[in-house]
């Protein structure tokens, strides 16, 4: 992926595991099925003749619209996952994400209060984990999903070490 306009110069991003695309797609598929099932209720009722008064165009719009939107979201997922990246610099950690709404964040090691490593059932099945950094600011929403477990453990240790070496107060 070419460097985007707001990416700092000379940064080579470490991308998250491609397996995370599968994880995201499974989650997306489950959510799509649920959403379609719920929003297609009017259409089913209409076609079954239980609720003939329901406007047909609305019933069709709900179902088809949901399907179109969900498919579009699904098509974006691979690119979105590939847009996630992080880079360790001497003083700080850079994290980027987003396709349409892009964000590049810099978290100084000395500002980190703690590091979370979280694993959900899906991520565990694929040997992945999420690393989340916390600073004293609640706005620091610095999570890196889809990191291979070994890399996550290394990152956690590395970040803790560097955080201690450069620890600053508040």
């Amino acid at each position: 992926m070419p460097s985007e306009a707001i990416d700092p110069n000379g940064i080579s991003w470490i991308r998250v595991s491609p397996k995370y695309i599968t994880v995201e797609l499974i989650g997306w598929a489950i959510l799509t099925v649920v959403e379609l099932a719920v929003l297609s209720v009017p259409l089913v009722l209409l076609l079954a003749g239980v609720w003939p008064d329901f406007p047909a165009w609305l019933a069709w719009l709900l179902s088809v619209g949901t399907l179109v939107v969900r498919i579009w979201i699904g098509l974006l997922i691979p690119r979105q996952v590939r847009a996630i990246g992080y880079a360790e610099r001497d003083e700080d950690l850079l994290i980027r994400r987003g396709l349409f709404f892009q964000r590049v964040m810099v978290v100084p090691y000395g500002r980190m209060q703690y590091v979370d490593v979280g694993v959900g059932p899906l991520q565990r099945a694929f040997g992945l984990c999420s690393v989340k950094l916390h600073t004293a600011s609640p706005q620091t929403n610095a999570s890196i999903p889809g990191v291979p477990a070994a890399e996550g453990a290394r990152l956690r240790e590395q970040l803790s070490d560097r955080g201690q070496a450069r620890l600053a107060g508040l």
Binding site: E4, A5, I6, D7, P8, N9, E91, D92, F100, F101, Q102, R103, V104, M105, V106, V107, P108, G110, R111, Q113, Y114, T135, A136, S137, P138, Q139, T140, A142, S160, D161, Q164, A165, R166, L167, A168, G169, L170
Partner: protein, 560 residues
């Protein structure tokens, strides 16, 4: 619970944390040879809060009981009826029930008072509380973010005060001591601040008058201006809209507003005026070596102390109505205060209403070194400045502020000349808003993390937003819609500047002579804010080692 050698351990007047020091010592210059002027509590010495405290805290319960039983009887007496529950054989039982309830309450009060103990040692303040579910709490003194001395109305009548000790968890107060006699609370505050400042450990500083750091009043907001500020607030706008709506509805639709709508609205308006007035009343700001001290309040008075280097971000705002008078409002992010919804955010207000000159004075307090040759010009441009409409495409520039490029004028036609940023040697200034003007100031060494945001529209226009993350609070500094290349450069430079500023930032104990060496990496990682505390423990541990350190020492930790 007491230790031999300590005096004044009588629990009934055990509020005096400075019992090792005679009253004559207050205000006196302590000879340097004495070294440590304050006697810290040893591990066995505990104090209790004032015995009346549970009453002051639980007066609502007592008032409810009095109301419940009193009203009927009072009315009955008034009407000359026979007293319910006091006639015939029921009198005995009624009195008994009331007596038992009152006794239980008093016993509860007594137990809660008896089991609440506190001590202030060299490094920590500890509070034990709870009868059945015991709670032992301990906070490091040098992690103090702010100390409040609060006097609610009833406490004022008794001459009591509550002491709130805030550390950086943005939630509940770390330590609440309610209530102490006012003098004791103030003394305790001075003690805590002196120890947090590192006075006890630095014999060279023992000449400082310790009991209460000398303070100098910077400004006092006159009552008339508070009234004016309330009248020129959003409440008035709301009132105007309501009255207009009522008038239009009456004249045009011939349907007068019912009291169902007007009474709540009137209450809302009155409450709005009242909260502005009562919290801003008698607002005074002072400065002392212990930091900024703010005092205010009509019924409930507060004295807030924010030690140096604890202000994470400042915002100066001006609403359209205030522009006529040239008034501004200042709010701060302090780690211990959080969002502070109580008192409509009075706690995070640095200046409820002030002139430009007063704003500059307060800015000088929170940012002693503005990091620029001509701070007045820079900050004035931040408060009122606006870039010229004619400028060539590319970087717009308004004196010291870099504003949005001309090409975004279609997107934000009102604010594009106002949105911008300026960088001084010590802080980043982010200004925004044309009607509701705002200037956010974030010291470099207080920047937590930085993020660049860019949406699809902004990408077309080659602009980006830069957000500075600070601790929880009312200020969220954002530099809106600056040229993408400029934003990226600022992002990089700001990260470097923040890192550099952190290295030379003030020590946590603000009166200690020099920055301390960075701590050795601790043996094991821990979590939470306690992690920072825990690691810093090693840093501050033996206080005697504090002294002149070679400059190289400061970078010590960085080698690792």
């Amino acid at each position: 619970m007491t230790i031999p050698g300590s005096t004044g351990q009588d629990p009934l007047n055990g509020q005096d944390p400075l019992h090792g020091r005679g009253p004559d010592a207050s205000g006196a210059v302590v000879p340097a040879s004495q070294g440590v002027p304050l006697t810290p509590d040893t591990t066995g010495t505990w104090h209790r809060v004032h015995p009346v405290s549970p009453l002051v805290r639980g007066w609502i319960a007592l008032a409810a009981i009095a109301y419940f039983f009193g009203r009927d009887w009072f009315e009955a007496v008034f009407r000359g009826d026979e007293l319910w529950g006091l006639t015939g054989g029921r009198a005995f039982w009624t009195v008994l029930i009331v007596a038992v309830v009152v006794l239980l309450l008093v016993a509860g009060f007594f137990l809660s008072w008896w089991f609440t103990r506190y001590q202030v040692t060299d490094d920590h303040v500890r509070v034990n509380s709870g009868v059945l579910f015991r709670q032992h709490r301990q906070a490091r003194l040098d992690r103090v973010q702010a100390i409040d001395v609060i006097q609610p109305l009833l406490a004022r009548i008794f001459g009591l005060a509550e002491l709130k000790f805030e550390v950086a968890d943005a939630g509940e107060s770390a330590v609440r001591l309610a209530y102490l006699p006012l003098a004791s609370a103030q003394e305790l505050r001075a003690t805590i601040l002196a120890r947090a400042a590192g006075l006890t450990s630095a014999p060279g500083h023992a000449q400082e008058p310790v009991p209460e750091a000398p303070e100098q009043q910077i400004l006092a907001v006159p009552g008339s201006r508070i009234v004016g500020a309330a009248l020129l607030s959003g409440t008035t706008v709301f009132l105007g809209i309501m009255l207009t709506a009522a008038g239009v509805s009456t004249i045009v639709f011939d349907a007068a507003f019912g009291p169902a709508l007007l009474v709540p609205a009137a209450f809302g308006v009155a409450a709005g005026y009242w909260s502005t007035f009562s919290t801003g009343y008698n607002f005074r700001a002072a400065v002392s070596p212990d930091g900024i001290r703010l005092r205010y309040g009509l019924l409930e008075t507060r004295a807030q102390t924010v030690p140096p280097g604890r202000v994470q971000a400042v915002e100066i705002m001006q609403s359209p109505l205030w522009r006529f008078k040239g008034w501004y409002r200042m709010r701060v992010n302090v780690a211990g205060y959080g969002v502070s919804t109580e008192n409509s955010g009075a706690r995070t207000t640095l200046l409820p209403v002030g002139t430009q000159q007063e704003v500059m004075q307060m800015l000088a307090l929170v940012l002693p070194d503005p990091g620029t040759e001509d701070p007045f010009t820079v900050f004035t441009a931040g408060l009122d400045g606006i870039a010229a409409p004619k400028q060539h495409d590319g970087d717009a520039s308004d004196g010291c502020f870099v504003t949005s490029p001309r090409r975004v004028r279609w997107l934000s036609w009102l604010t594009w000349r106002r949105n911008g940023f300026a960088v001084t040697g010590t802080a980043l200034l982010a200004r925004s808003g044309r009607l509701w003007r705002s200037l956010a100031v974030v010291p470099h060494e207080r920047t937590q993390s930085i993020a660049l945001h860019q949406g699809p529209l902004a990408r077309r226009l080659r602009v980006a937003d830069l957000r500075l993350h600070t601790t929880t609070g009312p200020v969220t500094p954002v530099v809106y819609q600056i040229d993408a290349d400029t934003a990226r450069r600022l992002f990089d430079e700001q990260a470097a500047r923040a890192a550099a500023a952190r290295r030379r930032s003030l020590p946590e104990r603000w009166l200690e002579a020099r920055p301390e060496p960075m701590p050795e990496p601790g043996p094991e990682p821990s979590s939470g804010l306690e992690a920072a505390t825990g690691r810093l423990e090693g840093q501050h541990g033996p206080q005697q080692q504090v002294g002149p350190q070679p400059e190289e020492e400061i970078r010590h930790g960085g080698q690792h």
